[in-house]
Structure formats: C-alpha cells, structure tokens
Point group: C2
Chain length 418, copies 2
C-alpha cells in the first residue's frame, strides 16, 4: 500500500523551516508496513495545492497532509480540500466547544477566525486535536483516503499516533509488523556489515535488516512481516526474531550497547544507577556538550553530579587540580592532561566516575604537531583511568559532537569492563 | 522563474534521514530571487524518478536534484537522467584523474564502481566537486535545466554556492536582490508585528518584510528587488533599504541585537571582547547547554573562561560558594540562589561577567509551589547582579533550550546597559 506525504506551506519552500514532520511520518508509516512513495512540499497557493492533490491521487491510495490549518488567511488546506472534493464546510460542534474551552483557559478573546477552526468538510471524520485548536480530518473519496493534520510537530505527532495509525491499520487490515532494534557504537556501517555478512545473508525472507547510521553509532533494525501468512497475526514472529540475536551477539557483541531503541546516554544512566556510581565530567573542547547530552535524560540527577568546563588552562589547574608541570610538559591537549582532568573531576565533583575531554575543535588553534581535530579523552573509574587520542577534523560542530559520542562510548566500555 | 527541488533516496522516504538539503537550497535560491515551486522527494526506483522528472518538467524551468550519485547500485540518478534525456554516458577525464587522486591520497584500492563516478551524460557541463568523488552535473534540454548534485550536505553546499548559483544568475540574467537582516530577541512575532505595523505598511512595493521566528528570537528579513527597473542593477537599492532602519530602531530598538544575520552568541562574544570582559557560566537546569552554545563560536577562548555545572546541590556550595542557609531558606530554584551562583562563578572562574541558571526542567521534580518549568536566571557584571524568574513548560528539551536563550538575552541586556 503506497502513501504520499504532502507538507504544505511557503515557509518550507523558502527554507525558513526544515521539514522534520516528513521523516517522523515516514518512520511511523514504515513501521506499519506502508510504503511512502513520494514526499511533496507545496506552497499555500490554492491552484498549486489542487494540482499536487490531483497528481498524488493518481499515484497512491492514501494522501497524508500536514500544514495550512491555522486561523490566518494563508491557511488554505481545509478550503482547498473541500472544494477539490466538492464538499461544503460545516460547523463541528464538539470542535467549537473545544476551541472555546482553550480560549477560556488562556483568558483570550476569541475572534471569528478562531471560530472558523471548527468548520470541517461535510462527510469528514474529525480527528480530535487534544493539544491544539485545529482538528485533524480524515476524508474518503472513491478509493482514496485524504488525511489532513496540523503542521505543528507535537500536534501532528499526537494525532498521527493516536488517531491516524490505528485507523489505517483497521481500514487496510494491515498485517502487523514487528521490529527488533539493536544499538551499536564504535564500528562503522561497512565494517559492521562485513562482520555480519553471513548472518545477514541467512535471514529468512520475511525478516529484513536496515542499517541506520548516525555519528559514531549504527542502529540495526530488523523488520519482520507476516507476508505469505494471510491467516492473520503470527504469534511466533517476535520470538523467532529474538532467536536471531545470539548469533548476532557472537559476531558484534562488544559493540552492542542495547537491544532496544534507546540512546547511549540512557543506557549509561541505567548502568550508573545499577552500580550506584555518581558521574561527573571535566570538559575542555566539548565546552559542556557532554554534560548537556547526559542531562537531556529525565531523572539524571540520580546519578549525574555536575561538570567543570575548564576552557581556560588556568582553570584546569585551579578547579581540576591538573599539575602545572603536566600542562607545561605535554600541553593541554595530551593524554597526560586529560587523565589528570578526569581524576581531578572525580575528587572535586565527588563522583566515583568521571570523564574528560581536551582537543582542538578548530577551525583555528592547530599546529603541525597537533592539527585541528586532535582530541584526547579519558575515563576514570574505581578500576583505574584509561585515555585515548585521535585526530579527525570534520568542522568544529561535528568535531564537538563526535568527541561527545566517543567519550560516552569509552565510558560505556569501562563500565561494562570491555 | 520557478525551480523544483528534487531529493532522491529511499532513506528520505523511510524517514531515516531528515531532508535538511532542501531548506538550504530553498534559502539560497530565494536569495537569488528564484521561487521554489515544489520540493519532491522520490525513491531510488528508475520508473518513479522518471515519472517525477516528467511532472517537474511541466511545472518549472529548473530542476535541482540531490542524491543518488554514489558508487553503489542503489545510486541511479545519473543513469536515469541520461536515459531520460537520450544521452550516452561518457568518461570525463578530469573527473577520473580527480577520483584517482583522492584514492591515492587515502591509500585505498580503487574499484571499477569508483571509476564509474567519472562517467557523465554526453553534453553535460561537469561541476567540479572539490570535496568528494561524485561530480555535479548541469544539463540543458530544450527549455529546461537539469542540475544534479551529490546528497552529502557539505558537498552539495559547496557545489551549489560555487558552481550552481553563479551559473543560474548568468543563464537567467537575474536581477540581484538585496537582503537586510535585523535580529531581535525577547519579543514574540505578533507583538513585534503590532509595534511595527505602520512602518511595515509604509514599505515601498519592491521591499518585502519576512518574520522568521525561532525559540525566543525573531529574524526580520527585508528583501529588496529591482522589479520594474529592468534597466539593470539598482545601485541605490541597498542604501534605500538601510535608510528604513532608523525608523525601525525607533519602534523596536531595545529588542534589536544585530543588524546582520548573526546569532546572539556571536554578538555576545564581540561585546565581551570590546569590553575586555571574560565570561563564565554556573549552570544547574541547563546542564551545560549555555556553555555549549557559547563555545560553538570559533575563537571563543578569547573571552570564555569556563563553566561549573552544579547539578547537585552540594556542588552549588562547594564549587560556587552558595551559602547553605540560602539553599535551605529559598531552595535551589530561587532568585537568591542563582544570584549567589552567578557571583560565585565570577570569583571562582576568574571572570568579570557570569551568568547562572537553576530550574525544574521536568518532567519530574515539580511541586505545587514550583511547578515544572519554573526557572531562575541571574547575570552578574561589575555593575551588579540582576535576576529573574519565570514559569513556562514545553517539555524538558524545549525548557532547556528556551532557558539558554533567555539567559543569553539577559546577559546581552546587561552588557548593553538596557
């Protein structure tokens, strides 16, 4: 079953906004076994939107639209859709009550344009938008399903998940698919692929493997379908997928940090809690990026103590206790210095575990000896201190992001004893 | 003149990758006065790509493609394009020499698939890709220009800027447009619009205003065109645009932090250098996010000393010198505490200026008195210490990002004496 995603709004075409909605929708539709045939971004002009609907309809059976449902005069989606399908706009009383309630709650005067948010094309199934004023809409016309959602990402996500996906599943009697995700870090996609070549080649026809790489990490996603078993849901599918994992672990176990879809910082938090360790960071080149990533996890105060960002060398000495001799002999970007930074952080922040970073993020500051991208990392635990040095330069922002990833990997290896 | 952006690759449709290329291309084309009529993302299947090309050709005169130029068998763009336009693939000797040189430099064996990167459709203008192995291509067929660029963002950006935009400008003899950007912070889009209503209404017809909002900040962009003056470039356009600014300053001057397109952290860096002040941060709820944003600026070590992320309350005392009494009497999330944090950071980090954050980022940790989203900020300078408290909850990640923005705004106000 093919779907077209249509995102509507001049701001997308001008590049004022990056279209992140489409990727989210593509992922969710894919999990249901639907194929996104095309993503089309069009303007707020009625004739262009109508032309795009006409072409999409010839391609797919489901058109999933976002955007153009706001109260201002740019927002045409509902009007164009009603005209295109020859429907009148009708007042939907429960939506009007919901909009009025929102305005009451915020104590704002309600204008006529706001009241118009409760108008929907006749024959439409209204998808209740609990978190906003523009309702979602589900319209069927002949063989085609037209779905219109607001463009505000959190409103779209909630409506898609709660209202749209279950309706699609029912309407098209979709065979459920199962996903098993394995998170890896520390080995590139092509090297992973080489190591698991034989395992991948032996996968049954109804189980597919996808490599989803990001900086320093690769997500492996197995998708199992009940294709060829139209008799309904295959209760053995998931157990059969999980039974493939031991052989995967044999090949790449030392790079697997989770067998579910969670980021490394969440896995680290669980390990730290389990071991009853507090963590702190001593950062130079990452400038707080490691602490920021660790503190993105709700509840991290149960294991994260804090951080000293010693951008200035004097602070490496005064706040972290790095010896002036070490700095003089080896420089700030050296394994000797990061080791002392990590050990100093353990003492000064009062944690069992600390990590440290120091490097030349660029674009300036490189020398022939230590070019831009030279980076030193250390992790100190009750079992001792380890450090490493590497040089990769892919621009300042990526250098910082990559260093953050690699030092968290090193921490994970130390906590796991690998 | 209308352009269609076409991004090619299954990974876009599955949502494995967010299409950031389109927004960049849309911005750049817009600056040239070209209008992006549609953005189309299609799969790696030859028939679907061909159908999309056919439809795009009926809509626009320029089709700008990215993706599908790699060496693997998924990468079909070049082959489909050659077949679609009835051209043979020919070896382009300078590209082959360039690819060979890259393989020599990395000391990697060169395979036949790599050699094939030097094949291009006959009659094509090759756009030299200095930073990768896949060349860009410019093909004209009848009235239509087909441009194909690699999908790797930094390769695409370089080719677009260096090769494509100048060719478009020449080919279509585009009247240059002028942009004047004014950066504001601290006032929402609708409030800004209200304050400058009369000024906006009085803009000449050839100068348009766009509001480009982001969290806590609004970019105002004036776009001036020489429409109606076909005699060529209007040398007075930019001066006439700049002459509009004094009246804008009268209305919203206290919210304008720059009259060029630069982020707040860059403006802060310039101000600190000018005043010869060092800066440090004391962070609780932002967990290092403020330091990270400040250190995203190349050369920041000239004015940024470091940061103490005191997530744990004990560290607020031991590292920042917050009085135990203050914490006991007012709690960690209080104006009294953040003031002491900022003042402590000035002393401990050895800086003239410091800022501090403490709040409940959520989702847990709220109380009836201090619900999730309660946030306290302080900025301490030689002129004294100021603080503020507010409550907004839009989820943990947004709460942290917004707090970071607001504390940098407060710092800017203090440095400007506003």
């Amino acid at each position: 079953m093919d779907v077209e995603i249509m995102t509507i709004g001049d701001e997308l075409l001008y590049g004022q906004v990056v279209d992140t909605n489409s990727a989210f929708m593509g992922q969710q539709l894919g999990r249901l076994g639907l194929r996104v045939r095309q993503i089309t971004s069009v303007s707020d002009r009625a004739d262009e939107l109508t032309a795009a609907l006409d072409q999409a309809r010839a391609r797919v059976r489901v058109i999933l639209m976002t955007g153009g449902l706001g109260p201002t005069k740019d927002d045409l989606t509902k009007h164009v859709l009603a005209r295109y399908l020859g429907r009148a706009l009708e007042l939907h009383a429960p939506t009007l009550a919901h909009v009025e309630e929102i305005f009451r709650r915020f104590n704002r005067p309600m204008l006529d344009v706001n009241r118009q948010q409760a108008l929907v094309p006749s024959g439409c199934q209204v998808l209740h938008n609990a978190v906003g004023t523009a309702p979602g809409m589900w319209l069927e016309d002949g063989e085609t399903v037209f779905i219109s959602l607001p463009g505000v990402p959190f409103e779209m996500k909630k409506l898609l998940t709660d209202e749209v996906l279950p309706r699609l599943q029912t309407k098209f009697n979709l065979a459920p698919i199962e996903h098993v995700v394995v998170m890896t870090a520390g080995l590139g996609e092509s090297f992973l692929a080489e190591k698991i070549q034989d395992w991948e080649a032996a996968l049954p026809a109804n189980i597919k493997l996808a490599y989803l790489p990001s900086l320093g990490s690769v997500r492996l996603r197995l998708t199992g379908t009940t294709d060829g078993q139209p008799s309904g849901y295959d209760h053995d599918l998931r157990p059969r997928m999980l039974a493939l994992l031991p052989a995967l672990r044999e090949r790449i176990g030392s790079y697997i940090f989770a067998e579910e879809d969670v980021p490394l910082e969440v896995v680290l938090g669980r390990l730290l809690l389990e071991k009853n360790y507090y963590l702190g960071t001593a950062e130079s080149c990452t400038g707080g990026a490691v602490a920021q990533r660790l503190t993105s996890v709700p509840g991290c105060s149960a294991y994260f103590r804090g951080s000293i960002v010693a951008y200035d060398n004097d602070l490496k000495t005064s706040l972290l206790g790095v010896q002036a001799d070490t700095l003089a002999a080896h420089g700030a970007v050296s394994e000797a210095t990061v080791r002392e930074m990590a050990e100093g952080a353990r003492a000064r922040l009062g944690c069992e575990v600390a990590l440290a970073t120091s490097g030349i993020a660029g674009p300036g500051g490189g020398t022939p000896d230590k070019p831009v991208g030279t980076t030193c990392l250390a992790v100190s635990t009750p079992a001792g201190t380890v450090s490493k040095i590497f040089t990769v330069d892919r621009g300042r922002a990526t250098n910082i992001e990559y260093t953050t990833q690699v030092v968290l990997q090193l921490l994970w290896q130390q906590l796991m004893g690998r």
